[in-house]
Subunit: 338 residues, 2 copies
């Protein structure tokens, strides 16, 4: 196939065949993989299945001028792995629904698929099926990820209790700075490469999520797909509690902070509202300190920062300069799309 | 919410909340439904999971001038139930990924969801999660359906053996006539309502597929999403056999036949190539006659027509007027999209 061939030249069946050739034919738990009406998988004995689906839409979640096909393929899976991580589930199987503009190059599809498969392989996860359709508009990648977790190790959003400490992994704000520098505030110049990369290639905290579940070290957990502000509100509502975050404690990415300031934005507000950090926020009571130590041993350099406490009063607030203010929410997908 | 409100007015969270309110909170096998990072489901004991995903894209699979929101929601699930049926799996759980144009009316989303949930309820299937995003282009509905089947009852495409009889359920060609009358050949006038309805509201042969699996009455099975010609080719390739279909035996929908003739099209070619019939084609040896009788008792009025035989010679042909000719393939999604 010439490198300038489009998916319309190549045809749906040939595109599927190219994907199929890239996937290892035998994999754990896969009875029937790509190539039938459905995939047949064998659930892990005694475990529950955790399923999630997240779609990336060109022009909404990515832009082909800023993200390479490999970035897009990687991210489509990463955002789903992040959801499984937030549930404490080990990722096992993946389905991919691709809606391709007719002019899309086959070489670009190959690159997307290779990146997705490479990330899947890093997490011992297998692409078992999917769907290819044409798109009259944007490129759309719909991924469904299926994971596995023991019943008592599943993490939800609804288990936070007053007195729990709220933690966040890694840093926040970098992806938002990366995205904003492409989109909203180009006058401030591009954000540092670390921030732009964070937007293009988020890293799902799979090892952390699974370790939190296995060690039963968290009472509630959520990923930061829509930002920390949103995540904390959701835990509070689902658990029927309040949360007080400490503004000083928030681990804002240092380069993102500098860029937000240069762009005339409040780094704290931008980092709280910015989506796509794909870190995990979780709550854990002080009594779980030992369990959390086990978790820290498994996650290498990734920092876990205490950023606040769960309160009985159902208010979600931010303590800043000795005063409590309401914590703003997160990213709204339809905002400004009208 | 006013009936003229758009999803952009309403916001992503409110749209999700409206869906959540429409779904019954407790359902069999659902540990955690809509509202967390992922859904948690309990696999049926001793069964395999069958998973499939199929996406409907506006402008490719449907057109909002011809299909109502309810038609679209119903069809998005039906095409996935059809894939599970072809595997012999009982549908259990569903995920829905909606990409919505900002101007899409909330009332239309409600209507789509209600139709999808109504079809799900008819098959005792539960919506457990999904994803809502904005779309800068077409309305896109991605559905993932998860079913359940005992290991030895799963139907594949690869079990056909020489001597098997090839059967097809129902009639073929009606959906293609319905679609063609909207799209390709409007000069011939609209197709009869039965044909247009078949395009808009395909019926998944869930009871048939499950009965074929449970009674172990079929050696190979596939649904006709891309037409009978395509389906037969796929069974032949996957099973390493040939098939000879009998042109006289094909159950072409009578009103579709009349309309194709009026439109100057060959009804046989049009019915073989036309996609979206969503009937099942399967092969069954004469020795399984008793099992097939059990199946017939469970499917009511739905006819099962013998249309050909599986052959050792790996050719896929159509016997017509006493001569064999190559059987044309099916629908190619990218054809004509260039």
């Amino acid at each position: 196939m010439r490198s300038s061939a489009t998916v319309a030249d190549c045809g749906e069946h040939a595109v599927i065949q190219r994907i199929r050739e890239r996937v290892r034919p035998r994999a754990p738990g896969v009875v029937t993989g790509i190539g039938d009406d459905g995939a047949v998988i064998e659930p892990d004995r005694g475990a529950l299945a955790v399923v999630t689906t997240d779609t990336l839409v060109e022009g909404i979640h990515f832009d082909r001028t800023h993200s390479s096909p490999a970035d897009i393929g990687d991210k489509a899976l990463a955002v789903n792995l992040s959801d499984l991580a937030a549930m404490g589930a080990v990722p096992r199987h993946v389905l991919l629904a691709l809606s391709l503009p007719a002019a899309c190059l086959v070489a670009d599809v190959d690159e997307m698929i290779d990146a997705l498969l490479s990330l899947a392989a890093r997490h011992r996860t297998t692409l078992v099926g999917g769907d290819i359709t044409a798109s009259p508009g944007p490129l759309v990648l719909g991924v469904t990820a299926i994971g596995s977790a023991k019943r008592r190790r599943v993490l939800g959003r609804d288990g936070a209790r007053p007195g729990d400490v709220v933690y966040v992994s890694g840093t926040i704000g970098a992806a938002a700075a990366g995205l904003a520098s492409f989109r909203d505030a180009p006058d401030a110049g591009p954000a540092p490469e670390a921030c732009r990369r964070r937007h293009r290639r988020p890293e799902a905290r799979v090892v952390l999520g699974v370790a939190l579940g296995r060690n039963r070290a968290a009472r509630a957990c959520i990923d930061l797909s829509d930002g920390l502000g949103d995540a904390v509100h959701r835990i509070a509502v689902a658990s029927g509690v309040g949360v007080r975050l400490d503004a000083e404690a928030l681990p804002i990415h240092p380069e993102a902070r500098t860029w937000f300031e240069a762009a005339g934005l409040d780094p704290l507000a931008a980092a709280l509202a910015g989506g796509e950090d794909f870190e995990l926020a979780f709550t854990s009571p002080p009594a779980f300190r030992g369990r959390l130590r086990h978790v820290r041993r498994q996650i290498g350099e990734l920092p876990l920062t205490p950023i606040g406490v769960v309160t009985k009063a159902r208010e979600v607030c931010l303590r800043r300069d000795g005063r409590d203010e309401p914590l703003p929410g997160g990213y709204e997908h339809f905002a400004g799309l009208d």
